[in-house]
């Protein structure tokens, strides 16, 4: 039986959207349950790609290829390898959790909210599966719409419009140059081979002159760096995260940011390998600045969501540093850290959402002593916080360790500087935790806060399960990425950065 499983995964949520549009908006309960059933089914449907995935090959699997606009060389070409596999699963895993998390939170325009959520899922999975640049670009842009609405409509009233517009403009701005670069690639491929195609796997084979690689790398990198976000393109993130509703922040942090790092490893590096080597110092330094700068800024935050947002800047810096090492440990660490960040930071936003729902404030100073009224909450929060600061035995450590190990081989100074971020992470996380959870209850409103409900425990428990699993037995996941990473590393090793001065590249004086 050869079902087009990836297509099912991409379009099944859309089916849910259609279904929900037909439901009466009065019946919130039915809408929520329908969404949940769709999201859970989607997760179940995604399990075969885990079990039937062949870890021994780096080739694309579950490939589907249909000519879409054959005259323009546009095809509906999708498939996954070890790098995208985990990201697709992360998406299908988190969506039902998000539906459960917003059960009580979202009371207004429930129908539209659920439509946005499922629409978003389609877009995200599409991005991770697309193997045609045109198709990829469509999914990439389509995803903006539901996210924009999630922030702008259901966000915190005060600044949601500012945050939504900022998010939208930032991403659009980056994407436009990427579109230009995609078109350049398209025409260049025709010039060299006489064939018009947007097919990524075919374009991989192109030998692109360094001069051209240089500019195209930058054009793609801008789009992805904004999404990651790398310093100094990160300022949309704290606003978007802070103003978005809980579920929006979760999706944003857990999956949307990964589209940036994924873009680097799927497009930037293999398409323009020589330029990718050339830019190692620049991007590693930006990544390290992100790690340290994000952590330091984190320390002073007064708003819980802003704090977690800045911690993302720091954590994603680790991912970028890992990817740019081009060795097994660093790249595998980077990939697994994408998943780790999705789980840990996703969980952190959910956890903050839980007290936001009870108290309608995100200010750290409003809390204190919550461990006493909410002991279960305290325990789960502690595990997630520890996972985020990279405690051995939990997931974050595995990723950070491999990344730093890989980085150490490339450049000891990089590793030393980046490792200092681990110290700062402990500072800001534990300090935040202390101010929120420890001490005596000083604010009367906190005295009788109810502890976690069964629903809340139910959606946090799976996250904790994977936080521990990846920490204790990461090979389950590392094995899946092994072949693809090895292939990527080998691909990168074949290329080397030419020794040219930057000025000459810009002037175009290279032979």
């Amino acid at each position: 039986m050869n079902l087009p499983i990836l297509s099912i995964l991409i379009f099944f949520p859309m089916l849910g959207v259609v279904l929900i549009t037909m439901l009466s908006r009065e019946n919130q309960w039915v809408i929520k349950w329908t969404t949940l059933v769709v999201a859970v089914l989607e997760f179940i449907f995604s399990l075969p790609i885990w079990f039937r995935f062949n870890s021994d090959t780096a080739a694309m699997q579950f490939v589907e290829r249909l000519n879409w606009f054959p005259s323009y060389g546009i095809s509906y070409h999708i498939g996954i390898d070890g790098i995208s596999l985990l990201l697709v699963l992360l998406t299908t895993f988190l969506t039902p959790i998000c539906v459960m998390a917003c059960w009580k939170d979202i009371q207004d325009k429930v129908k539209e909210f659920m439509i946005c959520l499922l629409f978003l899922e389609t877009g995200m999975i599409g991005v991770f599966c697309a193997l045609d640049l045109f198709l990829f670009y469509i999914f990439w842009e389509v995803m903006l719409i539901p996210m924009y609405l999630l922030i702008g409509v259901w966000g915190a009233p005060a600044r949601r419009i500012y945050a939504a517009v900022k998010f939208f403009l930032f991403t659009m701005f980056g994407s436009l140059l990427m579109l230009v670069a995609i078109l350049v690639l398209y025409f260049y491929h025709h010039k060299v081979t006489g064939v018009y195609t947007f097919d990524l796997l075919k374009i991989y084979g192109l030998q692109i002159p360094f001069q051209m690689q240089f500019w195209m790398f930058l054009a793609f990198a801008l789009a992805f760096a904004i999404k990651v976000p790398m310093f100094p393109f990160h300022t949309w993130l704290p606003d978007a995260h802070t103003e978005a509703p809980t579920v929006g922040s979760v999706m944003l942090a857990a999956v949307l940011l990964k589209m940036g790092t994924y873009g680097f490893i799927r497009f930037n590096m293999p398409l323009f390998p020589e330029a990718a080597w050339y830019f190692v110092p620049l991007f590693s330094v930006l990544a390290i600045i992100g790690i340290i700068y994000g952590a330091l800024v984190c320390m002073m935050q007064l708003d819980l969501k802003r704090l977690i947002a800045f911690s993302s800047v720091s954590h994603l810096g680790f991912v970028m540093l890992g990817l740019f090492t081009y060795n097994m440990a660093g790249v595998q660490g980077g990939i697994i850290q994408m998943i780790n960040h999705g789980l840990s930071t996703g969980a952190l936003f959910l956890i903050v959402g839980i007290i936001y729902e009870r108290r309608h404030t995100r200010l750290i100073a409003e809390f204190g002593g919550l461990s006493t009224p909410m002991p279960i909450y305290a325990a789960i929060f502690m595990v997630v916080a520890l996972s985020s600061i990279g405690l051995p035995g939990l997931n974050g450590f595995v990723g950070e360790f491999l990344i730093l190990l890989g980085a150490f081989k490339v450049n000891k100074i990089y590793a030393i500087l980046a490792a200092s971020g681990v110290i700062f992470a402990a500072c800001y996380m534990l300090w935040m935790f202390q101010r929120v959870m420890f001490g005596v209850v000083t604010n009367e409103k906190n005295r009788n806060l109810p502890d976690l409900s069964m629903r809340e425990i139910a959606y946090l428990a799976p996250l904790i399960l994977f936080i521990v699993w990846i920490g204790v037995y990461p090979n389950t996941f590392l094995d899946k990425t092994k072949a693809s990473t090895a292939n990527f590393v080998a691909q990168m090793e074949r290329a080397k950065a030419p020794k040219v001065a930057l000025v000459d590249v810009i002037k175009g004086d290279i032979r």
Binding site: M300, A379, P392, F401, A415, L430, G439, A486
Partner: protein, 635 residues
């Protein structure tokens, strides 16, 4: 049984899970039963393994037990695997044994605490991490235990989380330890990229065959690892967290901050002795840091009035001794002192706990005195531990401390010996000062409190007695001079590397006379304390008034905390605040909002051109035509 060594760390974690998840719903006795037996069982297993190990043929030793492949990426492999050798066996025995005793004691001490199940689950988790630390066969798994004990230390120091000072102290401990761990982690990276493996035995054998004494990379590795040790074992300059760690419950101080966790650094250095002997520079650093810490913290201990703080500084000082031993190449002496120290220092802390318990929570010795008759068992066990730490023959501390003093003289430098001897004098002094202030002299106890003073229940005094026995006879496993009587040394020898230096034989009479000297030094200390606190209680006041500056300096712990706050903590806070409000909001985001503003401004003005009057547009077209025509005509 050896192949089941993984059960040793595994069983305690079951207790952690049980008490953590179900502890609140089951009766208290079940919490205690589970909490204690998950430590007692591993202790028994270790004893069985120990016996089995002794019977193994020499070529079957040491034993490595692989459980599974933990992290593998490229050619990097970190196994979840254990090493059973003399060093890990000793450590497992000490850790599980002392932990068991302290768990029993905790049943009494923590009995009325609301967080009883939480306490036991944390304590079980700690033992798990500590056992992983000492039984791992590679650097990364050791690091798991290393950070794990740090976590538990954090959780247990801040156990009474409603107290601001407790949660502050917990956080401080974690962060300072992280600074050390940062060094440790870099050390692991360097080890892997140098040796292509992180397995202890492989690393050590490659190092022994492929690297010269004094090799730069080995020196770097050992120094980085030692940074980790200074954090975990509270040595200069990272010792500052340990005194504050006394905010935790007293049995925790006994177990984690005296007997086991803080000795992890010493264990690690001894474990890596094969690397350290290749790096004379690192050894010197270890010795100097150890000696400096020993004397510095002993001097702080002279002037503290909080019973637990005296013991805390004493611990830091004794750890300094152990590092001094390692630094002069006497790794076995370091481990020996680690073991005897675990006995007597755990006893001292538990004894102080018994005092604090009796005094309804009072820790200030200025409000104690003459407690001897109220707390006879506590008193007598305390005396034995104090004699042991002071180094009086034939208590356990005598043998180990004397060995360190002797080795620091013959294998080190006369300066090391002088410093160590001075610290030994101070140790004897402040410990007996503590005894005299607490148990002897006039009672300064509050009347309310005195009414309730009582000896602790058997569940607390029996552990005291058990440890008192160990503190008394524990040293006999390492009798010097007599050939073959140093069982401890002979057992441990295969696991420890030796410094390559010409062997010098000193006459036995020299060694014996050094022993006598060290006992005399201790007696002098005791005598001084007796004169100052029993015979002439007004003396301390007079002395402090004579040397006000020095006393102030010591009393305020040399202002090191203040120094760190001013030079490290505050600059980081101020800098971070600037990064956020200055750089991030003004510059980076300012550029974004600024460009948006420029566009808005431009649009606002360009908009004015769009008047909607056809005449204006016609005029604009006409002007355009003239310009273009003019351009072509004028060319």
């Amino acid at each position: 049984m050896i192949e089941y060594v993984w059960l040793v760390p595994l069983v305690p974690i079951l207790g952690f899970l049980f008490n953590g998840l179900l502890g609140k719903r089951v009766p208290k006795w079940l919490v205690s039963l589970v909490g204690c037996s998950v430590i007692g069982i591993p202790f028994l297993i270790v004893i069985l393994i120990f016996r089995e190990y002794l019977q193994l043929p020499a070529d079957a030793k040491p034993v490595e037990v692989v459980v599974y492949n933990w992290i593998s990426s490229g050619n990097f492999n970190a196994l979840a695997a254990f090493l059973v050798d003399p060093l890990s066996l000793i450590m497992m025995l000490v850790v599980s044994g002392v932990s068991f005793i302290i768990h029993i004691y905790s049943v009494g001490y923590m009995h009325d605490d609301e967080g009883y199940p939480r306490y036991f689950s944390y304590l079980n988790l700690f033992v798990f991490a500590m056992l992983v630390l000492v039984s791992a066969n590679n650097f990364l798994l050791m690091f798991v235990g290393w950070e794990g004990v740090g976590l538990c230390s954090y959780l247990l120091i801040g156990f009474w989380y409603e107290k601001q000072s407790a949660s502050d102290a917990g956080k401080k401990a974690f962060v300072v330890n992280r600074i050390g761990d940062f060094g440790f982690l870099l050390g692991i990276f360097l080890i892997f990229w140098t040796f292509n493996t992180i397995n202890f035995r492989e690393v050590f054998s490659i190092a022994g065959t492929n690297f010269e004494v004094g090799s730069l990379v080995i020196t770097a590795i050992t120094l980085l690892l030692f940074v980790g040790a200074t954090g975990k074992s509270a040595q200069l300059p990272l010792y500052v967290w340990l005194p504050d760690a006394m905010e935790g419950p007293t049995p925790v101080s006994a177990l984690i901050h005296a007997a086991t966790m803080v000795t992890a650094g010493v264990y690690m250095v001894a474990r890596c002795s094969a690397l350290y002997v290749l790096a004379p520079v690192s050894l010197t650093v270890v010795a100097i840091v150890g000696a400096a810490t020993a004397i510095l913290s002993a001097s702080i201990g002279l002037a503290q009035n909080d019973i637990k703080r005296v013991l805390a500084y004493s611990t830091v000082s004794q750890l300094g001794y152990m590092f001094l031993a390692c630094g002069v190449g006497a790794f076995v002496a370091g481990i020996f002192h680690l073991m005897t120290h675990a006995f007597f220092k755990a006893l001292l802390f538990l004894g102080s706990g018994s005092v604090i318990h009796a005094m309804s929570g009072e820790q200030d010795m200025r409000h104690m005195g003459d407690l001897k008759k109220h707390l006879p068992i506590t008193y007598w066990t305390f005396i034995m531990a104090t004699l042991a730490i002071a180094g009086i023959f034939p208590f356990a501390g005598f043998f180990s401390k004397d060995e360190i003093l002797y080795k620091s003289l013959v294998d080190g430098h006369i300066l090391y010996w002088l410093i160590a001897a001075a610290a030994a004098f101070m140790t004897a002094f402040y410990m007996f000062r503590l005894i005299f202030m607490t148990f002897h002299g006039e009672s300064r106890v509050d009347h309310e409190v005195l009414h309730h003073v009582h000896e602790s229940p058997p569940v607390m005094t029996l552990p005291l007695i058990a440890l008192a026995v160990l503190s008394t006879i524990g040293g006999f496993v390492g009798i010097p001079i007599i050939e073959g009587a140093n069982v401890f040394h002979d057992f441990l020898a295969p696991a420890i590397a030796h410094v390559h230096r010409p062997e010098i034989h000193y006459p036995i009479s020299f060694e014996v006379s050094m022993m006598v000297v060290s006992v005399i030094i201790a007696l002098l200390g005791i005598n001084t304390a007796y004169r100052m606190y029993i015979k002439r209680p007004e003396l301390p006041q007079i002395v402090t008034e004579k040397i006000p500056l020095l006393y102030d300096l010591i009393y305020h712990k040399y202002y090191v905390d203040e120094l760190y706050a001013a030079t490290v903590v505050n600059p980081i806070k101020v800098g971070s605040d600037f990064l956020w409000k200055g750089v991030d909001e003004q510059v980076v985001d300012g550029a974004v909002n600024g460009s948006a503003g420029v566009i808005e401004w431009l649009s606002y003005h360009i908009r004015k051109l769009e008047t909607g009057y056809v005449q204006n547009y016609a005029l604009a077209i006409l002007i355009g035509v003239f310009i273009i025509a003019g351009y072509y005509l004028g060319r």
